[in-house]
């Protein structure tokens, strides 16, 4: 990473976990896509009494999740969620992964096939510093939140908050809540969110009711 480049505040995973925990009903069924070592799922199980399942591709992460006593299915999200039955969960979580999958539309549709509600956390490439960097340096932005060079990055897609909202609506789903995360703090109904947020949490549902 080029040190001369400006760094945005990094993701605070703990904060995002808290934010996600708040959006999940106690005792509900939760599937976490790209669950890593299962930190969030273990908390949902232990603190919220949820029934949980993880989806993870990486063997090391998956082993960590098994070590927490979680059930995990090793699957590449780009394959879809063939193994997961329709409506088998109340909530599907996808944290900081949507920009990494090959077909975000497929993953979103799959999430809302297996669950009534999707919680999605995505980095906001519409942040003003990212825009400034592009304008000033004429280069693909590298920041703490986006610490990768363009040629070696898991982020296959560059999207802003506006883009996510458009995509959700285009798929016929509904954004129930949108929580911008600004300088590491969730700020609901923030002014100029698409310029100021490092990332955002979306609560998406199949129906707008």
């Amino acid at each position: 990473m080029n040190a001369s480049r400006y760094s945005m505040p990094g993701f605070d995973s703990g904060l995002i976990d808290e934010l996600l925990l708040d959006q999940v009903d106690s005792g509900s069924r939760v599937i976490d896509l790209g669950c890593g070592d299962g930190r969030l799922l273990a908390r949902l199980r232990d603190e919220r009494n949820c029934q949980v399942l993880g989806i993870e591709l990486g063997l090391v992460e998956l082993t960590g999740a098994i070590g927490r006593g979680l059930s995990v299915i090793q699957t590449d999200l780009d394959r879809g969620l063939d193994d997961i039955p329709d409506d088998s969960f109340d909530t599907a979580v996808l944290s900081q992964t949507l920009q990494e999958v090959r077909r975000p539309t497929t993953v979103l549709r799959e999430m809302l096939r297996v669950a009534q509600r999707a919680l999605i956390v995505v980095p906001n490439f519409g942040h003003w510093r990212v825009r400034l960097k592009v304008v000033q340096q004429g280069r693909a932005p590298v920041t703490d939140a986006l610490p990768y060079e363009w040629y070696d990055t898991p982020n296959l897609h560059v999207c802003s908050m506006h883009d996510i909202r458009d995509l959700v609506e285009q798929l016929g789903f509904f954004v129930i809540r949108e929580i911008p995360i600004i300088k590491g703090r969730p700020v609901e109904r923030a002014w100029w969110a698409n310029l100021r947020a490092d990332s955002a949490l979306y609560v998406v549902e199949r129906t707008g009711e």
Partner: protein, 433 residues
């Protein structure tokens, strides 16, 4: 014509313990064994704690299903008494809550770990995975492995004397299924005073037994670990078994299965069956890497059709066939491959959903990327059904070059998930329903 056993990864004999044909050198294991370094074996038995061996073990036998409580088999036949050969490793806890049952594959046996005496050069077939500090840690768990019904390594099978006293059973042995195998093993576990196993684990035909355990004895296991297996044998598997059986049946030495009093049984047929089956245990890459087109002797072709071991891969297969004949009974091979063909959990229990509806066991299902005998789609089918009925299931598709054999080769990889899985299952307590 010299037939030299080749060693190295990817040629590991899958379902038996012909260990001279395998070597762990390629895996960098400190402990080696076999004809190459007999000293290492000696050390492993004199000081088992140092190298993770269970040391010297003995195969035990028990007689179950004594008349009138005989066993009625799925094919309608009755059998009893039934002798079961088994081994145990580790110590059963006072609470009797740390027992793990290993289901062996098609041609395995009860001797999963350790050696039979201090000069024994071949440890059990899963010695790398079973022992102190290993995948199935015998310092913590009490591990049981038993030969299958219909086998030829101590448990009642077609080679044992029939109950009517008229010599060995041969083809008169009652038709048996995976379900029958499991019921006999459940009888053994009961005999050992264990009402609920911590885990039942097995690969291939062993994995089928694990699934049958969960379906038939849903309360008697806390977890099921299914490796490189599936809820049924696919057409390709049946096809290869058919070739193996055909080879035995047409061998002039077969004599309708009545060959026990002859000098030689259907040894050519049985060897050929093994050669064919062995190919299905290897992956395209592993067989290519190990042998390629290399010749057994010299650099040029012999232009001689009678030389059957010109290529290294030929020599290896001949060697595998020859070794197999020394330790396996052709009639057992017929009965057990048929049991494998017949296995279809869904049809036995109405549907897969019904098969898994009763058990509270946690499942760990693993497939291997290059396994074409039980491809990952078979593992996923099981996983999908388990999820459908709300079971606790973990699925891992291991990346391995070793094909179907991988579950017997990639010990570290497997232990990486099995160890935490067992720990967590154990930590949940007996949870008796």
């Amino acid at each position: 014509m010299q037939e030299v056993p080749l060693s190295g990864p990817g040629v590991r004999d899958c379902h038996n313990r012909d260990r001279t044909a395998s070597a762990d050198k390629a895996h960098g294991l400190a402990r080696r064994r076999g004809v190459i370094e007999p000293m290492a074996i000696e050390m492993s038995t004199t000081n088992p704690a140092d190298d993770g061996s269970v040391g010297v073990v003995e195969t035990q036998t028990v007689t179950l299903f004594e008349p009138p409580a005989t066993l009625t088999l799925a094919g309608g036949g009755r059998l009893g008494p039934v002798t079961v050969a088994y081994e145990t490793y580790g110590t059963l806890s006072p609470e009797r809550d740390n027992a793990i049952f290993i289901c062996h594959a098609l041609t395995g046996d009860a001797h999963a770990a350790g050696v039979h005496d201090s000069s024994d050069e071949k440890p059990g077939w899963w010695d790398d995975f079973v022992g102190p500090g290993k995948g199935l840690d015998t310092d913590r768990y009490y591990v049981i492995c038993a030969n299958v019904l219909g086998g030829c390594q101590g448990t009642t099978g077609p080679g044992t004397t029939s109950s009517d006293g008229d010599g060995p059973w041969g083809l008169r042995f009652p038709f048996l299924t995976v379900d029958d195998i499991v019921r006999v093993h459940a009888g053994l576990v009961e005999h050992l005073g264990i009402s609920r196993l911590l885990a039942v684990i097995g690969g291939s035909l062993g994995g089928m037994q694990v699934l049958e355990w969960a379906a038939r004895f849903p309360d008697r296991l806390r977890s099921a670990i299914v490796l490189a297996s599936g809820a049924k044998l696919a057409a390709r598997g049946i096809a290869f078994n058919a070739i193996g059986r055909r080879a035995i049946l047409v061998d002039p030495g077969f004599n309708d299965g009545n060959y026990y009093d002859q000098d030689e049984g259907p040894r050519f047929g049985l060897a050929l069956a093994r050669m064919v089956a062995h190919i299905t245990y290897l992956s395209e890459d592993s067989i290519e890497l190990k042998f390629g087109r290399r010749l057994q002797q010299g650099d040029s072709f012999a232009y001689d059709l009678t030389r059957e071991t010109e290529f290294q891969v030929e020599s290896y297969l001949h060697y595998q066939g020859k070794r197999f004949v020394e330790r396996f009974d052709a009639n057992s091979y017929l009965f057990l491959t048929r049991a494998m063909d017949y296995f279809d959990l869904a049809s036995t229990h109405g549907s897969l959903t019904r098969a898994f509806a009763q058990t509270e066991a946690r499942f760990l299902v693993t497939s291997y990327s290059t396994d074409w005998l039980f491809p990952a789609s078979q593992g996923r089918e099981v996983v999908r059904t388990l999820l459908d009925v709300g079971r606790d299931v973990t699925f891992v598709e291991f990346d391995s070059v070793y094909g179907h054999d991988a579950f017997l080769i990639e010990h570290a990889q497997l232990a990486g998930v099995v160890v935490p899985f067992l720990e967590q299952t154990f930590a949940r307590g007996t949870n008796v329903p």
